[in-house]
């Protein structure tokens, strides 16, 4: 009883500490996290749709899912570059990272639109 309860307590303690730590992250990072979550959910919904009705225009499905996945990946890259605690990108101005993010997204979406059919 004590071990299970301790593991449950440990889990809860872990969760709480994560929550409080997360609250300390800067707002712009939180925005980016939110964006990633949004993209992931959109991808999930599309997968569920495909699972229910079949993958007939497979190219459309792929382009939809990959657009979400791609934009999420790009957002993660942005987060890494913008994060001040990340020593590697100390000298990179965040505006530059943002500009890269925008450009790559535009290229990604051009390809996605072409593949959408």
């Amino acid at each position: 009883m004590a071990r299970t309860s301790s593991s449950k307590e440990n889990a809860q303690a872990l969760f709480h500490s994560l929550r409080s730590a997360y609250a300390a992250t800067p707002v712009n990072l939180k925005i980016i996290d939110l964006y990633v979550g949004f993209a992931a959910f959109t991808a999930l919904i599309q997968v569920v749709y495909m699972a229910s009705v079949g993958s007939f225009p497979f190219n459309s499905f792929l382009s939809g899912v990959l657009s979400c996945v791609g934009t999420a990946v790009l957002a993660v890259c942005l987060r890494i570059q913008v994060n001040k605690e990340n020593k590697e990108f100390k000298d990179l101005p965040p505006e530059r990272a943002f500009a890269d993010f925008v450009l790559c997204n535009l290229v990604l979406h051009l390809v996605i639109m072409n593949f959408l059919g």
């Binding site: 707002v27 993209a39 101005p93 505006e95 500009a99 051009l110 959408l116």
Partner: protein, 685 residues
């Protein structure tokens, strides 16, 4: 090979001639050709031709024809402007219809004709003028030619050395046609001359006529005719008109002289055969020439041809037909007393002796024909040549008439052939034992049904006997087997004497039949021209079982396809479409579309919860505009993508994208560098 035609026309290989005298078919043709609605009674010449033809054939002239003719005649005779040719033909027509012409008109005519004779320069001028005077003399009586000798010599001046005559001094062409006209003219001169003409002139003309007859031409069937070969084609009269002209001239001349013309009589017979051999002409002028010439020959003073003809050359032994022979003059009138002898009967194409003795035919007063009482027993079915001879009773008649010696006539003797013991059987190959045997009734219907395999044989046999009990070999005795796929095979049925038999050994025929098993229709054809009961009979069918064809076996020949079938409708093409994919129902898709927007909503709500603000937006005017431009151009690019999805193609998009991209990069660079510099200033400060 079409087995349907068993009757072939007889081919005359020898010079066996066979002509019929004038008959009622000529009379009906004359009525038809010379009818006014035929349009052939316009000129005097045609009117005269019609009248003469009707007169010779003994056809009653319709009153309106006579009336029209009389009107034309009196018009021409009365007018002083009518041509010489018209006057001549008017007088000729008048000699037949005998209209009343008053004396004054006659005097005028006579004066005119005399003047024409004096002033004549070409042969036709002499012909019309002298001929006209002869005709006037015929109706009036007292007409004489003043200088007969001189006129005779003038006409003779047109003679050429080869026996032909020129028609005018200007035209060097000589023709037999002109010779005929000249002879007729000279005959007219002789009959009009008073005192009598110098006889020596007439004798030399006799020689000219013999010279003319040297140029006579001959057909294979014994007909003789004259034809001119003129360089100037449009004057060419044709053999019928040329020969008619010569015959008219010849007979006219023979009528006025007592001297015997030295023309062989069988040449006269040859000329008669030429005219009779035409049959019934289809042209009015040809019919006139034919009838007129035959009328001249009918009672000419050289020799009158007698024509032997048979009403039918096919006699039936079974029906016991009588052999009948007719002897007439060319116009069909009665001949003088004579006997017809059957000299001999020979099988066609054989040089063996005659099958019958020479015998006389019996004259039947009722029909006016000579009959052979019974066909001799030695004459069975087949094709024969009968040889006849005419013997005149009185000796003097032999100078007047020409009979033409022995006449060969091809005759077919037909009859019913007895077909007996007809049967069809299937035999076993080695032993020859009969498996199936069926009797056939070749006079009626048969529907035999047999079956055989390739180890068996098919035998068809029958017996043929002529009415006199002899063996008969027909021209065609064929057995045909036709497969259901229309491939046919034909076999000849051989015979030994009266028995006909054919045995088809299928073992040897397997390859010839192309290994086609199945149902074969059997057809038997037995036929000959002299067989009255020739037959083409479907006997029945046989189911043949042949082995499978080996690899290298020849295929049966392709059967003829109806050549128009390729224009018919073709086979229907059924297209197989790919089944369209099953699409989800519209409502479900729309629901999920809505669902997709939910995360976006969640994102926006999260942003609000985080407390985002636009504080970092530049406040100064220039950076502010750039910032807005930056956002606007991003929006433009995204809407360009939407347009690209909706209707643009890649190249258009890339062009626009390049344009927008440049703007975006410039603007973005300005804004972001401004933002970077402000945040750097804040940091340092």
């Amino acid at each position: 090979l079409d087995l349907r035609f068993f009757y072939f026309f007889l081919s005359i290989c020898e010079s066996a001639s066979f002509f019929q005298p004038i008959s009622d078919s000529h009379r009906s043709a004359a009525v038809e050709l010379f009818s006014p609605d035929h349009g052939s009674l316009k000129s005097l010449e045609e009117t005269y031709e019609a009248l003469r033809t009707f007169d010779v054939l003994g056809i009653e002239k319709k009153p309106d024809v006579t009336a029209t003719a009389c009107r034309l005649v009196s018009e021409t005779v009365g007018s002083s402007s009518s041509t010489l040719k018209n006057v001549f033909y008017a007088l000729k027509a008048n000699s037949i219809v005998k209209c009343k012409i008053n004396d004054k008109a006659y005097q005028g005519i006579i004066t005119r004709l005399n003047a024409a004779v004096d002033g004549a320069s070409s042969l036709p001028d002499f012909y019309y003028s002298v001929g006209g005077l002869v005709l006037v003399k015929g109706s009036k009586g007292d007409v004489h030619l003043a200088d007969a000798d001189g006129i005779f010599r003038s006409v003779k001046a047109f003679r050429q050395s080869d026996g032909r005559w020129r028609s005018s001094s200007s035209n060097p062409e000589s023709s037999a046609f002109a010779a005929g006209i000249a002879l007729e003219t000279l005959a007219g001169v002789v009959s009009l001359a008073s005192p009598e003409l110098d006889q020596s002139l007439i004798s030399t003309l006799n020689n000219d006529i013999s010279k003319l007859f040297d140029s006579i031409e001959k057909y294979d069937d014994g007909a003789l005719y004259f034809d001119d070969k003129l360089v100037d084609g449009h004057d060419h009269q044709g053999p019928l008109a040329t020969t008619s002209s010569v015959v008219r001239g010849l007979t006219a001349f023979a009528a006025v002289t007592d001297e015997r013309l030295n023309i062989p009589s069988n040449k006269i017979l040859g000329l008669a055969n030429f005219f009779l051999g035409i049959g019934v002409p289809g042209d009015a002028k040809d019919l006139f020439n034919q009838i007129d010439s035959l009328a001249c020959l009918e009672s000419n003073r050289v020799s009158i041809p007698l024509i032997l003809s048979l009403p039918s050359t096919v006699l039936s032994v079974t029906k016991e037909d009588l052999l009948q022979v007719n002897v007439n003059t060319v116009l069909g009138s009665n001949a003088p007393p004579l006997t017809v002898k059957l000299v001999g009967v020979f099988t066609s194409g054989s040089k063996a002796a005659s099958l019958v003795e020479s015998q006389e035919l019996v004259f039947d007063d009722g029909t006016g024909m000579y009959n052979l009482k019974n066909l001799p027993k030695s004459i069975d079915v087949g094709s024969y040549t009968f040889v006849f001879e005419i013997v005149l009773h009185e000796l003097e008649h032999e100078k007047i008439y020409i009979t033409g010696g022995q006449k060969k006539v091809p005759i077919f003797v037909s009859g019913l052939i007895k077909i007996e013991n007809a049967e069809i059987a299937v035999l076993d190959s080695d032993l020859g034992s009969i498996e199936t045997q069926k009797k056939l009734d070749l006079a009626g219907q048969n529907a035999v049904s047999l079956s055989a395999n390739h180890l068996q044989k098919l035998r068809v046999s029958f017996k043929l006997t002529t009415p006199h009990g002899l063996a008969f070999k027909p021209h065609q005795a064929l057995l045909k087997l036709r497969h259901e796929s229309k491939v046919e095979h034909i076999f000849v049925v051989g015979n030994s004497g009266k028995q006909f038999e054919i045995v088809l050994n299928f073992l040897g025929l397997v390859e010839k039949f192309f290994y086609l098993s199945g149902r074969y229709d059997i057809e038997l054809a037995v036929g000959d021209a002299v067989m009255e009961n020739s037959l083409l009979l479907a006997i029945g069918h046989i189911e043949l079982d042949l082995p499978e064809p080996p690899e290298k076996a020849t295929r049966p020949p392709p059967q003829p396809v109806d050549p128009y079938s390729r224009y018919g409708p073709k086979a229907e093409i059924t297209h197989i479409f790919r089944a369209p994919e099953k699409r989800p129902p519209k409502e479900l898709s729309l629901a999920f579309l809505g669902l997709t927007f939910l995360p976006l909503l969640g994102f926006l709500i999260g942003l609000l919860l985080l407390g985002v603000n636009l504080k970092n937006f530049p406040s100064n005017a220039v950076p502010a505009t750039f910032a807005t431009l930056f956002h606007v151009s991003i929006g433009a690019v995204l809407s360009l993508y939407v347009l690209f999805w909706l209707k643009l193609d890649l190249f258009q998009t890339l062009k626009l994208l390049g344009f927008l991209g440049v703007i975006l990069v410039l603007v973005g660079h300005r804004v972001l560098s401004h933002l970077a510099s402000t945040s750097a200033k804040l940091k340092s400060a």
